[in-house]
Subunit: 490 residues, 2 copies
Amino acid sequence: MLKKRTALLLMVAAMICGSLLTFFLSSGNSYAGQAVGGEGLLASITNSAGLKKEEAQKIGTALDLIEGNYYKDIDRSILVDGAINGMMESLSDPYSTYMGQETAQKFEESIEGSFSGIGAEVSLKDGNVVVVSPIKGSPAEKAGIRSQDILLSVNGESLKGLELNHAVSKIRGVKGTTAKVKVKRESVSDPIEFAIVRDDVDLETVNARMEKDGIGVIEITQFSLNTADRFMAELSKLEKQGMKGLVIDVRNNPGGVLAVVIDIAQQFVPKGELIVQVEDKEGKRDKSLSKGSSKSYPITLLMNKGSASASEILAGALQESAGVILVGENSFGKGTVQTSFDKQLGDGSLLKITIAKWLTPKGTWIHEKGIKPNIAVSQPDFFSVAPINKKKSLQYNTNNEDVKSAQVMLNGLGFKPGRTDGYFDQATEKSVKSFQTSKKLKVNGIIDAKTAEALENELIKHIQDPLNDTQLKQGIAEVQKEMKAMASKK
Amino acid sequence: MLKKRTALLLMVAAMICGSLLTFFLSSGNSYAGQAVGGEGLLASITNSAGLKKEEAQKIGTALDLIEGNYYKDIDRSILVDGAINGMMESLSDPYSTYMGQETAQKFEESIEGSFSGIGAEVSLKDGNVVVVSPIKGSPAEKAGIRSQDILLSVNGESLKGLELNHAVSKIRGVKGTTAKVKVKRESVSDPIEFAIVRDDVDLETVNARMEKDGIGVIEITQFSLNTADRFMAELSKLEKQGMKGLVIDVRNNPGGVLAVVIDIAQQFVPKGELIVQVEDKEGKRDKSLSKGSSKSYPITLLMNKGSASASEILAGALQESAGVILVGENSFGKGTVQTSFDKQLGDGSLLKITIAKWLTPKGTWIHEKGIKPNIAVSQPDFFSVAPINKKKSLQYNTNNEDVKSAQVMLNGLGFKPGRTDGYFDQATEKSVKSFQTSKKLKVNGIIDAKTAEALENELIKHIQDPLNDTQLKQGIAEVQKEMKAMASKK
């Protein structure tokens, strides 16, 4: 579960680069082409005069001085890009950025929720590019790529030792081109070669399942253009199965398109109630009212410090206008709206500019503060523990960060190491011995590479078990509580 | 010694901001006005065309889009400055920078080695601005300001709680103006008020003294325009006192003006031998040959990882062309030359641009590698130990960074704490008890605020004692060895 999720996040990260925590304004329901909204705003710009004489002179003089005097050759176009980057940085707003052509393209793919490639979620394991799972209906799945396949090379170029980003860029490519992929599969001794024709692949941003007692769980990983449709499809499927309660999970969801999150919120906010208010420079507010209706079943929303932007709009709307209980951690705190301008610069590059604040239905600006959950629940320490460096054995009287990691792991697994501050005392030694006994390892109380590896494997299993997802458990428990309360009222 | 030096560095840091690690090319011996050298280089620029049409268009479009759409009001001049900053950043060269008017002025004062103010070295202690020492002959000294005076306010504005930079900017001011300074002196119950007329104050960049056996020590803190004259004055004074060997100390010296370090190197490099080679973009080398002569007495040079730029030129020249032994740590590794352009932008701002590499006499480019000492000596750990957080007592079985600091201090002072990894074991407890006994404190083996303070005070004394400056001792020892060798040859 977590492993898959982590791998997925990695792939998304590898794909969309710096565009996380982004949030887009779409003024209408339709989304036409690339530049999101902004047409109205643009009108005022078209007539603008460009650089004033003294501005052009100062910037031009600087550019000439650099080009003429710098001790290395430097391309003027790099300096021009640098100038635009620098203007964006002078705003001290991390969400206003300039993207060159390549980054801009990846960014737009992420907004659209699709990209051109073979359609395999990959992660890095011991320097190998490993398939987590082929995306349903993708060229990779159709060709027969399976989970756990190791991708050795693409069109003859080895992927060994590459960073994930770099490897992904080699696997992906223009729609219609062929990727000859050499694959190592455990059950087969020789590498297998697949010829896969690249195609448009939808990013899976919605994962749904039914838990016991008729409680549905829908995870939204980001708000891309196709996310609202996918969400509604999954929601209606769960409802048809007789869902009695719902947990919406936007943990680690960095945001996405405004119109999309409004569409999703409308499924739960009563008609005519506020979803979000967008406030411009002059303080004028554009209020989004729900055209939908409320649900009869109880709902909780899971969020954490990685839930940002559109995720926070959803959390704010559901909490304030639909009485949904928020469970988890304080959210990220991004209360601004960006729009992208990509036609104006004329060369495929784009400017993403913060154009407004957004406020919750009650008018709160959550920027840099985030939204407080109704029920605060953290994941246990062991969810974020660092791996153990296996080069040196750890034993009684050792004192370092690796011992600390091992202690957090032993503690998470219930082996009571006594302390978790990195000092290997006698209680820790006893705890290691118990763990070694349980795993049928040599019982010596020393954490060597073998014991460390066993400890880490056991922890991964533990993390993957939904029973240990404290936040999810709490979210489900809240839904159950409300279900009972509703039943007793009947 | 260290305390004074640290305080001095703080003041310099407070004064010259980001200009450390800077190194300037002066093409001739004369230094006219502000822009250092570069007149020849400029000729090729004057005829340049400024921004090309498409460059102006792209930058202008971006500027208009930002100004027109950003969710806050933004001044166009900030965006223009941002653009120039961004062009400099696109070079990925930390030494090429754009400075606004205020920073530019401080920068030039640092290059000139003088500034306008009252002339007191100050440091921050418990939130108070404390005088380390008044600079000789300065208005502060003449007015009667003494070491350890606490500066409470200037012209009625309190300095309490300000950052050092901020406080310094309030104390300093235009030559001829008066600073009414309210001072708390320990021996006097009420604050004393001084009216001090600000004047030009020379930064002291050279400190010299004679150690035993006729060994002179000259410390150079940076290479400002007046540093060569000051160095030669101190050198000649020491020689007149019959100096038999010399230690030159450029530890933590961030660099300065090229012509100045060449002048200093000439005192030791035989006539006609190479001091430094400056190589331009085309690979053409401008070789600086010594017009001076070598010395008959042995010389060592002390350097550390804070010795950069001009300090490394001196180290390289003395090592390769004068047979001087380098003692200490690998140097910083800055092998480039900058020049400043401050007239061209026309508004007091300036561009500092890397225009060339410099190479040692043998043609080595030490950039990002530094120079290896002939004799590697580090200062003991306790020279860089962090202070102890005094809010919580430390005792047996505590395990944290504060215990680590205390152990390093106890170890440095000879109280053998057993381990220095932050775990407070029985050996550490015994060591604390010995320390408490020696200081006539309550002997309980617990590091409370009182014991921690006593420990820190004792350590400061220990660091201030030149006998504990391992690098200096080694530098002197080398000189003594050579002196002996020379004597035996006679």
